[in-house]
């Protein structure tokens, strides 16, 4: 443990929370404090917290839970990060009734916007005083009063059984459009609309940006996402046992899946107080860094492609290929490693594999440095990304940006350091921070992180202790809250779980880093030139599948309908 004063800090924070009016304060796991607050006092409580901790308080996410079968109420748990103090504060509040109401925190903490709307869509919890109380996740024609994540909504229920039902009562096709809320009248009248999405070469997954442009200048940008709903939360809560979910969690993302598997396992391990063997923690960290390597190098390729520099794109993916081969040698898979179970890992890294990794690091580091150094010394490339897509430190803080994106705006937050997990408590991580707040800064931060990952893997391999790979444990204690946080390649990845009976989950709420980073994109696009839009969108390394994983929508939304959406947008523009 590197922090000697950890318990003092914790004691002081617990005191503060009690003084500010929390009904109960419990330390649920190392670095996590759960306080319950009545809903009438919630806003005052959070306001007092903001006064107390100021800038260092960050709204991370919130989880709505249907606790009616156990407690007869709904609960809303806000996750507030105190990065400087290495703590997560869980603030839980209860609400009763069929349409429960709790005060919205968005007016105080704008980063709460999406998470609250998600709870509203899926659980029917109303957030009083929310500035933008419109649908976020469910498509616009979704029937009123149907909330898929409530416990009384069966996971296998189909909203529409027959094609006729899908078409609707009057035989009109239901357009499952999900348009962003429209901008002001003057913007709509005076500007041309460029629809970027749901299908666009710059987006590798379906998302929708509406860019209102004057000539080539973007006047206003609107975003709507959540087109790809896979219903993972519902699936995990209804059908899976705790050791099946790691494999589902890993499939949240095709790039950084392992980080989700880790965050999930950490959350359950924390809830059940399972001590994971040190060797397993090291193996997790090594794999997480290998994943970061491949993810960042992949991103460099995509960024070069957005700049039209395909030679760079190809070079990066060629370099990345070696990382993929090593991942396959270590885990059996190039991606979706399938290495985690609650309590440890499934495969060891022996000396032969370790030397394979070291050899890979040697060549990847060399080639990556050589290529990127020469590209970053090209004036044409630097000029295209310098002072482009600026997100000021204040905006990054306000909107809750995380990961390399936040670090490029001068915020030195990194879960590996702020809330150490896996083997990061045994090694020193150098956090790359830049403060020019533009796309160039994001490139440079990721460049430094690739080099740092290489260093970390070497150090972890050197220090890895001998020992077991799995912890032994019995049945899960029910209704315990656990939080797992990892630094995914794109930033803070948070998984909250509430354990259920029979080794199942009562509630699982993963929140991927892109979820919060995406909300910053419209701010960065406004005032920019259209030609810069792709690289700005790409600069946060958006992962839509991560963001979109959460909902049950079993509606056959065909390609033609989406095209109609595009067509509607066009005729309007």
């Amino acid at each position: 443990m590197r922090r000697a004063s950890g318990s003092e800090v914790l004691g002081r924070v617990v005191e503060t929370l009690k003084r500010l009016g929390a009904e109960s304060v419990t330390v649920t796991q190392e670095g996590v404090v759960l306080s319950t607050v009545t809903k009438d006092r919630l806003r005052d409580f959070v306001r007092a917290l903001i006064r107390e901790y100021g800038e260092s308080l960050r709204h991370s996410t919130c989880m709505g839970t249907d606790l009616r079968p156990v407690r007869g109420s709904f609960s809303v748990t806000h996750v507030l990060a105190l990065d400087g103090l290495r703590l997560y504060l869980l603030v839980e509040t209860e609400a009763f009734g069929n349409r429960p109401k709790v005060p919205s925190l968005t007016p105080l903490l704008p980063a709460a916007n999406w998470a609250e709307r998600e709870a509203r869509d899926l659980l029917g919890i109303e957030f009083e005083g929310h500035p933008e109380p419109v649908k976020l996740i469910l498509p616009d024609p979704w029937p009123e009063g149907v909330f898929p994540l409530r416990k009384d909504y069966p996971y296998n229920k189909k909203l529409y059984e027959t094609p006729a039902q899908v078409r609707g009562v009057r035989g009109e096709p239901r357009f499952f459009s999900a348009k962003p809320s429209p901008p002001s009248e003057s913007v709509r009248e005076g500007c041309a609309l460029i629809p970027v999405g749901p299908y666009h070469p710059a987006l590798h997954e379906p998302e929708y940006y509406e860019l209102y442009v004057e000539g080539e200048r973007i006047v206003e940008a609107r975003y709507r996402g959540f087109f790809v709903h896979r219903g993972m939360e519902k699936l995990a809560e209804s059908r899976m046992t705790i050791n099946q979910v790691p494999f589902l969690a890993e499939r949240i993302c095709g790039i950084c899946g392992y980080t989700h598997a880790c965050a999930y396992c950490q959350a359950v391990e924390a809830a059940a107080r399972i001590e994971v063997p040190e060797r397993a923690l090291y193996i997790r960290s090594i794999l997480l860094e290998i994943e970061r390597l491949h993810s960042h190098i992949l991103w460099f390729g995509v960024a070069f492609h957005m700049l039209g520099f395909d030679t760079g794109f190809m070079a990066m993916w060629r370099i990345r290929e070696e990382v993929m081969r090593v991942a396959e040698a270590l885990t059996g898979n190039r991606k979706t490693y399938g290495m985690n179970l609650v309590g440890g890992v499934r495969r060891d890294i022996d000396e032969g594999k370790a030397s394979l990794v070291l050899r890979m690091l040697e060549s990847v580091e060399g080639e990556f440095r050589r290529f990127c150094d020469s590209v970053l010394s090209m004036r044409e490339v630097v000029e295209r990304v310098k002072e482009v897509g600026v997100l000021t430190r204040e905006d990054a803080r306000r909107l809750g940006a995380v990961g390399p994106h936040a670090r490029a705006s001068g915020l030195g937050i990194d879960v590996r350091v702020d809330h150490p997990y896996a083997a990061y408590r045994f090694v020193d991580v150098n956090v790359a921070v830049r403060d020019s707040c533009d796309v160039l800064a994001r490139i440079l931060v990721r460049y430094d992180e690739v080099i740092e990952s290489v260093r970390l893997i070497r150090e972890l391999l050197k220090n890895m202790p001998k020992g077991e790979l799995m912890a032994e444990y019995g049945d899960l204690p029910p209704l315990r809250v656990g939080l797992g946080a990892t630094e995914a390649p794109r930033g803070e990845d948070i998984h909250l779980v509430i354990t259920g009976r029979g080794n199942k989950l009562y509630r699982w709420r993963p929140r991927a880093p892109s979820y919060v980073n995406l909300a910053t994109v419209p701010t960065m696009l406004e005032g920019e030139r259209l030609a810069n839009a792709p690289i700005i969108i790409a600069s946060i390394d958006p992962c839509f599948s991560c963001t979109d994983h959460v909902v049950v929508v079993d509606l056959r939304t065909g390609v033609r309908r989406r095209m109609n959406l595009l067509r509607n947008a066009l005729t309007r523009g």
């Binding site: 070469p201 442009v213 070069f304 700049l307 039209g308 760079g312 190809m314 030609a531 523009g573």
Partner: protein, 313 residues
Amino acid sequence: MSAASPLLACAFILVNVASLAVLALILDGVDRKVRARVQRRVGPPILQTLYDVLKLYRRPVTRDELAGPFHSVAPALAFATSLVGAAVIPSLLPTSGFQGDLIVAVYLISSVSAITSFGAASSGIPFSVVGGWREASLMMTSELVLGATVAAIASSSGSLMLSSLMPLIRPSTVKVSPIIALASLALLTYVEGGRLPFEIAEAEPELAGGVASGYGGPSLALLMHSLLLKRVLLATLFLDLLVPWGAISNALGAPLGLAVRALAFTLALTLVSLVSAVIEALYGRCRPGHAISIVKKALIVSGVALIAACVGF
């Protein structure tokens, strides 16, 4: 050397048009192969662009009710214009030419860009409109460069007929202006060829194909083909002014001279393509404003060449 009889002249023109039309597609295949090799890829077969175009011709014609009437005509018109360009400009085989064919050639090449951007502008698709706007603004600047360059060369050689212009050979004394003008024409050949970093009108990651995004099937094939043909025409114009092809074929006499000329010309075109492809692989796309400002610098250079030519340098 010009063809003696009108019939032979017609045959020469037909050969030129047909071979440039095919070469345009094959040279693009060569480009793609070269770019792939620079990027350490295997790349598509050299005939891939030809296969692509042939495949597109077999696709059904689609109509977009949002598009204006000019949108659907534009590709055919652009293709016809570039074919006429291929007939006017001497290439593999000499054409008899006429006084002022230089101006006609410049006009035809510019028309292809103009038609493309008008077609895109009337598509009603925002990406196309922006792409068309980019094409038009790049064209307007670069046509000025082309005009000034050609005027400089014409004025220093005292002719407006392509076959009699040999700016680097004709004058008994070495002049500066044609050299500057040719350098600026070389840049322009590259820029107007729609190559990176100047490929801003299609810009796939930004504009989803831009000027081409409203087209599919045969119209897309025609548009692609005419843009590629325009690229070859620019290179042909440049080569015509750089190398005294007439002198080569005259020296060897018909038919050997003609055969050698045709072969050498094809090789020269391939060389231009190879060099351009390698340059292209080393660059990313620049911002539209930046692209235009580079062309404006070329305009200053060609302006200098024109003034120098007028005062006799």
